[in-house]
């Protein structure tokens, strides 16, 4: 298009105004991306779940336990090829703000269920041979500067008292979405002490993890498991790991809805900013558009000029936004969120959404000024100068 030069020059005409608008767009795209990233973080557990795993928990609530004795009954069901179990510990490391998940797991079966947790063979051997051994995620170890052999004391909340551990291994994730922020220790360590101190709490687990080879059978197998314990003291609820993780996310749904609303508001505000810039610009250029029309330029050309300028500003803003998101901002956000969520790269989808929002904004901002510029009769446009 031969008018491209005019579009570029027009954009550079009010340098301060254009720069501020571009900067505003960039900040909005950055904020949008960071918010979307935070929302994704909530769903990271869902993204990391395997279709081969089912989770069985107490039907009333995850905070109620199930008897370990259910294990053998579950294992006998057709299609179930492995059963493991785990329990939430909820201890405090030095200070409550140092939160990280601590999970008691069956030493023999748990890591077969989670092949994505990669533990060096000798470290796994050490874990198996020492009752108070712990296996911790790479990111968690980095966060507190731990290394293998460190003795660590946790203060129990659900399980009162001081609990001493020794870190015997550090696992890494097979995939980028694998959570490397967890602390695993041996269920038998927990259970043995319960047996001594509070026998009613012994032999209880938080949830079972069930391996199935055929994910298409998930619904049928879940149904069979739950049927087994109908009308028992502790009825169960079995679902895919993905559904189980989603139920945690839904506990935070109001936060997530809030974040989503903010992300839309951010885009809405920047739409107003760009629309205002474009309205000012188009108004100033009324006589110029009238002159161009006199020369024989048609509405399509005026549309091209205004949309071109608006989209050009929007694209520059969007690109700048992506650049500042990727370089100074994202590393900071990842470190900050990394303490609470398994971190993962900013998704390309988020960047594309940010950029598309900028383009949509550029498009919408041009509609009204274009409409006015096209509708203004030439003679009225020319009289503006007189």
């Amino acid at each position: 298009m031969k008018l491209l030069k005019l579009i570029f020059r027009n954009t550079g005409r009010h340098k301060l105004r254009s720069s501020l608008t571009i900067l505003g767009l960039a900040i909005a795209v950055m904020a949008f991306s960071v918010i979307r990233y935070s929302i994704d973080a909530w769903y990271s557990g869902v993204a990391a779940s395997s279709p081969n795993r089912l989770i069985t928990r107490n039907a009333i609530s995850i905070i109620f336990t199930l008897p370990l004795s259910y294990r053998d009954k579950i294992a006998r069901i057709d299609g179930v090829t492995g059963v493991s179990w785990a329990q939430w510990f909820g201890g405090i490391y030095v200070d409550a703000k140092n939160f990280f998940p601590q999970i008691a797991v069956d030493k023999d079966t748990f890591f077969d269920m989670y092949p994505e947790y990669i533990v060096p063979t000798d470290e796994m051997k050490a874990f198996l041979s020492e009752r108070n051994a712990a296996l911790v995620g790479r990111k968690l170890a980095d966060r507190f500067g731990w290394s293998v052999g460190d003795p660590i004391r946790l203060t129990g909340t659900i399980y009162p008292g001081e609990w001493d551990f020794v870190i015997r291994g550090i696992y890494t994730g097979a995939k980028e979405t694998t959570d490397e922020t967890q602390w695993f220790f041996r269920y038998d360590y927990l259970d043995e002490r319960m047996r001594k101190e509070t026998p009613v709490r012994a032999g209880q687990v938080g949830w079972f993890i069930i391996w199935i080879n055929d994910p298409s059978q998930a619904a049928i197998i879940s149904e069979k498991i739950d049927r087994l314990f109908d009308n028992s003291m502790a009825e169960t609820k079995t679902e895919t790991e993905e559904a189980f993780n989603l139920s945690f996310v839904s506990m935070a749904s109001s936060i997530i809805i809030g974040l989503r609303i903010i992300s839309i508001l951010v885009i809405g505000i920047i739409l107003l900013v760009l629309a205002n810039t474009m309205a000012m610009t188009a108004r100033e250029r009324v006589p110029e558009y009238a002159v161009m029309k006199t020369l024989g330029f048609r509405p399509v050309h005026i549309v091209g000029l205004i949309f071109g300028e608006s989209l050009f500003i929007a694209i520059l803003g969007g690109l700048l936004g992506i650049v500042i998101t990727l370089f100074p901002v994202m590393p900071l956000v990842r470190t900050a969120l990394g303490h609470f969520f398994p971190t993962f790269p900013l998704s390309v989808v988020t960047l594309i959404l940010g950029m598309s929002s900028a383009i949509v904004v550029g498009f919408l901002a041009a509609v009204f000024p274009t409409f006015k510029a096209v509708k203004t009769p030439i003679v009225d446009g020319l009289r503006v100068i007189d």
């Binding site: 027009n10 005409r13 020369l295 100068i385």
Partner: protein, 226 residues
């Protein structure tokens, strides 16, 4: 006997503001012959600009017809009228109305962007037009780097670059000092004499009107020919 280029038949024009009719032109009959240099004079508010705009096809009469080379402009759609203007009309404004972000060269090239001419052809035509108005050495200057008289000459180059049948000028010297005004008038007279351009010019200035061969006077929307 020269041919009729433009013919206004019983043209009236009113503007409407807030449902109040403002009558501007009353039953104007006018013929402009090919090769003529016409001056349109009259007091402020008499409707000179309005009349020129009707001839230029940037406004439409409330009544009557504007006929250009046997073509009734009222039959053209807005889009066709725009194409018609780009082919037949060169317009010179009182305040030059150049694009401030484009150089003299680019301003003159602007109307050629609507043609199918190649880049090289466009450049040749722009250079010719700027040479005619005597600004071959100012091609790369932006409007704010030119004097008023130079800006108006660029505007004239823009008006002639497409080789239109009719050049319309609305007080082309109205904003210029005496010396520059004289130069612009000489230039228009030269375009008429040497290049055979048909020119219709609105002016307040009796000395400017002296260059014209025909003078029409408008008074309160009524036309009288001197």
């Amino acid at each position: 006997m020269a041919e009729t280029l433009v013919k206004l038949e019983d043209v009236s024009k009113s503007y409407w503001r807030d449902s109040i009719e403002i009558p501007v032109l009353h039953h104007i009959n006018l013929e402009i012959l090919t090769g003529e240099f016409v001056a349109l004079m009259g007091p402020s508010g008499s409707g000179k600009t309005t009349l020129l705009n009707l001839i230029a096809g940037i406004d439409r009469p409330s009544q009557g017809r504007v006929i250009f080379e046997h073509e009734d402009l009222s039959t053209l759609s807005e889009g066709d009228l725009a194409r018609w203007r780009s082919r037949h009309i060169g317009f010179v404004f009182q305040f030059y109305n150049l694009m401030p972000v484009l150089t003299a060269f680019e301003n003159v090239e602007l109307p050629l962007l609507l043609t199918k001419l190649s880049r090289a052809e466009r450049h040749k035509q722009v250079e010719t037009a700027l040479a005619i108005v005597g600004l071959a050495d100012r091609m790369k200057h932006y409007p704010n780097q030119l004097s008023g008289g130079q800006e108006q000459r660029v505007a004239i180059a823009r008006a002639i670059v497409t080789d239109p049948d009719l050049i319309l000028a609305d007080e082309p010297t109205g904003d210029l000092d005496k010396q520059s005004a004289e130069e612009i008038m000489d230039l228009l007279a030269q375009l008429n004499k040497d290049f055979g351009k048909t020119i219709t010019m609105v002016t307040h200035d009796p000395r400017a009107a002296e260059h014209a061969r025909v003078i029409h006077r408008l008074d309160k929307g009524e036309l009288e020919t001197a």
